[in-house]
């Protein structure tokens, strides 16, 4: 396999090391997909309309059954059994992920052993497309940024796979689940390892596909299938933006590989229309994939999928693809301050908007979903303002604590579901109003969830504090010292925007602390509202599920210590900064206007203090104001009113989209295209041509003799008369045509 690099002559230092097995990294999960897929096909042909693998009864919150058997939704549900090959799948599914993580770790150590690595390691496998001026290779690029992503994907992914072994163990679609999950990891790895935009796009589309498949995993419920469709279609809108950006890149630079684009981007005018447009279109793609305003609406609905899926795809990895894309395109974004301001502004608005919705959600997964949207907003604030390391840092810590939160809630839901199973209750197992006091029944999960909550709220020394503080801090500093501050956004000076986003960010941080604490209080504290009989069945989840939680809990604690700011002279200061420097360092400088903004230590301390105060205030506010004792179970809970109702209904955004976009499209399709053209014109025409006099005439249709068909047929039959004279005629006429062709040349 050939190697190409931009800077160094000769072979890349990583060649010949374990890094040359880079191609094996995505291939392992792909192998898992194939094997698990084959195993799932063994049962595929026995399934009919009562496909148990697709059906989970009538409840809106389907969950795998535990071994107590029976259906939680009435006795009409057929008996559930584990899939025949569940054991084999349990080995293959997580196994390939663990192997991939091991390989990733080995490659990471090899990279670390090099010391400084300035040029990325590119492996070219074959020439993919050579059309005119477009030369595209199928190649993977390994540098510090993709290494971070690979570790997160395989590491957190492996943990989630292990969790799924317990969570999904009684699901009849067990192999299908792992097949899709493996396929997702494959595509995600292709996304982060691709060496050019089209390969990245393949991964981009692939993870969108897997997201659709996994959200609608229990597709016999229409709501689940609809959620999958919604995710895919809204994503598509973003993909359109990404494609336009690629077209513009090729048209202006003639290159689509990252190295080539980075090298030739200097040809574009700094802050000019072209580079700004490219960046804005890229961001449109990110808004779709990473659920920012206005394309975030699919993420809450995506909670219809199994909880580990929500953890992996809609928290840790897929939704972070947008952040990765911007980080990857750092050269372009650093040249377009106006685009950067747009990203920052939308990120900030999304952060606070989603956080406000999270304040009034009752479904535990919906709270986390809006929390994810909000935290993604933070990440975009980071990468949009030129603080690429901060954004990626928050991506990393968020993967840890959000996965932990989702998996933890999965354990809770698992226990709730088992309880409702046993009593044949039809209550909602995911609604917090039906929970309460779970700390008595699930102490380990309780502790770990608190670790994650403190992390997300931003309390030191937990992970989220460092990453969130770094983002907010860099926005504040860049508000007075960066190209973004000097630029204008629709006439407004950039520094105003950045300060505004800083303030919004603080507000969102406050709200984050509040709603997360609210979630903990309502779920784990206070009296239990599940019910007398159900209470007996609430217990901790099996260790196959709690084990990964522990690992994630540890990471949520120490994860922030990878990039300690200079103001706190403890531990590895700026480790991530140094690690990512070869990839984003130059662009960060350019975006900051030549020199990085400096902060005096006292300013830093003030910023840190503000962040801590906000976090603690939020937690305190929640503890003070929220009274879990006054909560009623969902069935008896009163309706919200006032602004609370608006928040609970997510500001009616979905309804607005439906009225403004969906309904008009449906109406045009049904009324004009179907009734008008399809039935009115095309069907009529066909009847005219084909219908014979003897046929029953459709009401209103004029019966013709089918003469067109008959006439054509008659003419055709004349050519086959068998008479020599006819053939002679045909021959001579043909000769005339041929001669005519020659005569006219």
């Amino acid at each position: 396999m050939l190697l190409q690099h931009a800077a160094t002559a000769g072979a890349h230092p990583l060649e010949g090391t374990v890094a040359s097995y880079l191609w094996l990294l995505p291939l392992l999960p792909l192998l898992g997909f194939v094997l698990n897929g084959l195993l799932s096909l063994t049962s595929a042909f026995h399934l009919g309309p009562d496909d148990p693998s697709a059906d989970h009864g009538t409840g809106s919150h389907p969950v795998a059954h535990d071994e107590t058997g029976g259906g939680a939704h009435g006795d009409d549900h057929h008996a559930v059994q584990r899939h025949r090959y569940a054991g084999l799948v349990s080995l293959i599914g997580p196994g390939v992920l663990i192997a991939a993580f091991g390989l990733a770790l080995a490659i990471f150590l090899a990279m670390r052993g090099l010391g400084e690595m300035h040029a990325p390691f590119v492996q070219r496998y074959f020439s993919w497309m050579t059309v005119g001026d477009l030369v595209l290779d199928a190649s993977f690029q390994l540098d510090q940024l993709s290494m971070v992503m690979v570790l997160i994907i395989t590491g957190v992914g492996a943990l989630i796979h292990l969790f799924s072994v317990g969570y999904m163990r009684d699901d009849p679609g067990y192999p299908r689940y792992f097949a899709y999950l493996n396929l997702f990891v494959f595509f995600m790895l292709v996304l982060v390892l691709g060496a050019n935009y089209p390969i990245l796009f393949i991964g981009w589309e692939g993870v969108g596909l897997c997201s659709y498949l996994l959200i609608g995993f229990w597709f016999s419920e229409k709501a689940n299938a609809d959620a999958g469709k919604k995710a895919f279609i809204v994503n598509r809108i973003g993909d359109f933006g990404f494609l336009i950006a690629m077209f513009m890149l090729f048209a202006n630079l003639g290159r689509l590989d990252f190295l080539g684009v980075n090298a030739t981007a200097g040809q574009l005018q700094f802050g000019g229309v072209v580079v700004t447009a490219i960046c804005l279109f890229i961001f449109l793609g990110c808004a779709g994939k990473s659920a920012q305003i206005p394309l975030y609406v699919w993420l809450p609905d995506a909670m219809a999928g199994p909880t580990p899926v929500s953890a992996l795809i809609h928290a840790a990895t897929m939704v972070t693809a947008g952040v990765y894309l911007i980080a990857r395109s750092n050269v372009l974004f650093s040249m377009a301050p106006a685009a950067g301001l747009t990203v920052v502004l939308i990120g900030g608005l999304t952060a606070v908007f989603a956080a406000s919705i999270g304040l009034k959600q009752w479904d535990i997964k919906k709270v986390l979903a809006y929390s994810t949207v909000s935290q993604l907003g933070y990440m975009f604030v980071g990468v949009g303002s030129g603080a690429y390391v901060a954004g990626v840092f928050h991506l990393m810590t968020h993967a840890f604590f959000k996965a932990l939160l989702f998996l933890g809630s999965g354990s809770v839901i698992y226990a709730m579901h088992a309880a409702y199973h046993a009593t044949h209750s039809h209550e909602d197992a995911q609604d917090m109003r039906n929970m309460g006091g779970m700390k008595k029944y699930m102490p380990v999960t309780w502790v770990l969830m608190w670790a994650a909550t403190l992390a997300i709220a931003g309390v030191p020394p937990f992970a989220g504090f460092f990453s969130k503080d770094e983002i907010l801090g860099s926005v504040f500093l860049r508000a007075s010292h960066s190209t973004l501050a000097d630029a204008h956004w629709l006439g407004i000076p950039g520094s105003y925007i950045l300060y505004l986003v800083y303030v919004i960010g603080l507000a969102a941080a406050f709200m984050t602390a509040v709603y997360m604490t609210r979630m903990m209080i309502y779920t784990f504290h206070g009296p239990n509202r599940t019910g007398e009989k159900e209470r007996e069945h609430l217990r901790e989840a099996p260790w196959i599920m709690t084990g990964p939680l522990v690992v994630l809990g540890v990471l949520s604690v120490i994860g922030g210590w990878f990039n300690i700011p200079a103001a706190l002279p403890v531990g590895p200061i700026g480790a991530l900064d140094r690690w990512l420097e070869p990839v984003v360092g130059e662009s960060a400088l350019r975006a900051a206007g030549g020199t990085l903004p400096e902060a005096t230590h006292s300013l830093e301390y003030s910023l840190i203090a503000v962040a801590i105060v906000i976090a603690l205030a939020g937690i305190g506010f929640a503890f003070a104001r929220l009274k879990p004792q006054r909560l009623l179970p969902k069935a008896q809970a009163p309706a919200e009113h006032g602004f609370g109702r608006v928040l609970e209904n997510k500001y009616y955004v979905d309804e607005a989209y439906d009225a403004a976009v969906v309904q008009p499209v449906v109406d045009v399709s049904r009324g004009l295209l179907w009734r008008g053209i399809d039935v009115g014109v095309i069907d009529r025409l066909t009847r005219l041509i084909v219908q014979s006099k003897d046929d029953d005439a459709a009401p209103g249709a004029v019966p013709m003799g089918g003469w067109v068909t008959r006439a054509v047929g008659y003419l055709g039959s004349q050519l086959q008369s068998g008479r020599v004279g006819t053939y002679a005629w045909v021959l001579v006429v043909g000769v005339l045509f041929v001669l005519g062709a020659f005569s006219f040349r």
Binding site: Q720, S721, G722, R723, V724, G725, A728, W729, V732
Partner: protein, 97 residues
Amino acid sequence: MLAESLFFSAVLFTIGVVGVLTRRNAIIVFMCVELMLNAVNLTFVAFARVYGVAGQVFVFFVMTVAAAEAAVGLAIIIALFRHKQTVDLSNINLLKG
């Protein structure tokens, strides 16, 4: 003389074609084909005069082939006549199907 020969040849050829298209007697049609062959022979000879004797060699071969073709074709017509008692082309559709 080349242009005049080509003119004659073209006219003769066209007369042959019209005859093939128009007549119903199989033997007459066959003879029209012979007429066409003769027209072509004239072309060859006319060109041979300017571009070399190869044209005449070709005429030689054309005549040979015409003779062979006439023999076989007439044998076919005889067989046809025996079968159908007529050589009227409009009634003969044995090639059908």
